[in-house]
Amino acid sequence: MKSIKFIMIILYVMINSLYAQDKGKIDNFKKFENSFLRNFKYPAQLQERCIPVLTLMVISFDQSGKINSLSFSDSAYPQFIQEVQRVRDNIDFESLYMDLKSMGKENEKIIIPIQIDTGVIDECDSGILQFDLINLYLFDSKPLKGRYFLYKKILSKIFMARAIS
């Protein structure tokens, strides 16, 4: 009876620690994703024309966890890049770094696919064009090549409603 109790306790601790580890990972990604979407304001010029965001974000960190380089593939519109640069300091890249560190991947070049659909309610809804997909893998007109760590994607929808006049 004592040994059964002992086994049960060990099983309980093991399940709990696994769950806690898993939860920790998800939380770090969610923290980063939430801060990205919370700070990012969909550029009005793109939203009015129902132009979605589809791009690959490539990021690398230095030894201290600061961003070394941050770039977007050619399918990203300049308005989107400007907006990310504007809110860059408010995005929780630290959580992303911590998540990568917990996996021992903090020195890798990271790819985060981003898709943000948009539109104006009762007017238009964005769709991905062939043109967007062709430019998705290009960086300054050159195809992406080499070793990367493919991370989870950011997938969201940001719609606008017109005020009733």
Binding site: P113, Q115, D132, L136, K145, Y148, K152, K153
Partner: protein, 161 residues
């Protein structure tokens, strides 16, 4: 006489080796893979008639034991295109990718985007409900996650009516 002949052969071999290294045409492994792809692939008539382009990810993993490449197709690929790529699989030399990236160990899979671009594209393809872009990195419903070697897309443009 024999040693003279050997020296001449050695000089020619050395010259050819350095020439191959310098010649970008001989070094361009992607161009070789791409030309093989364009030469053998036949875009399924059903997709061409329906003006549906193809954009998907090919995950290539080398099986050390079986000495062969295993292919996986992202969820954005049409079953007819999976069938077509599998038909020409043996004509595509994936060793060229590892040669191009100068990788000796083949334990990390390669990600190759496949793009069949059409001159005329159906409205359905760019419909807001389309899941093509969302499924580019999904394999059997799960997103690819981890280290990969990314490679330049293999592309074909089809002029459809």
């Amino acid at each position: 006489m024999r040693s003279f002949l050997l020296i001449v052969i050695a000089i020619i071999a050395n010259f050819m080796h350095s020439y191959a290294q310098k010649d970008p045409e001989l070094r361009n492994n992607w161009a070789k893979l791409q030309s093989g792809f364009v030469k053998y692939i036949r875009y399924p008539k059903e997709l061409e008639k329906a003006s549906i382009p193809s954009f998907f990810t090919l995950k290539v993993q080398y099986d050390e034991k079986a000495k062969q490449y295993n292919l996986e197709f992202s969820d954005s690929s049409h079953p007819l295109m999976i069938k077509e790529v599998l038909r020409i699989k043996d004509k595509l030399d994936f060793n060229l990718v590892y040669d191009d990236l100068t990788i000796e160990k083949r334990d990390i899979p390669i990600i190759i985007p496949i793009e069949i671009r059409l001159a005329r594209v159906s409205k359905e393809f760019s419909d807001p409900k389309s899941t093509v872009s969302q499924n580019l990195y999904n394999f059997k419903g799960k997103q690819a996650f981890g280290n990969f070697y990314f490679y330049a897309p293999l592309a074909l443009t089809v002029i459809n009516d």
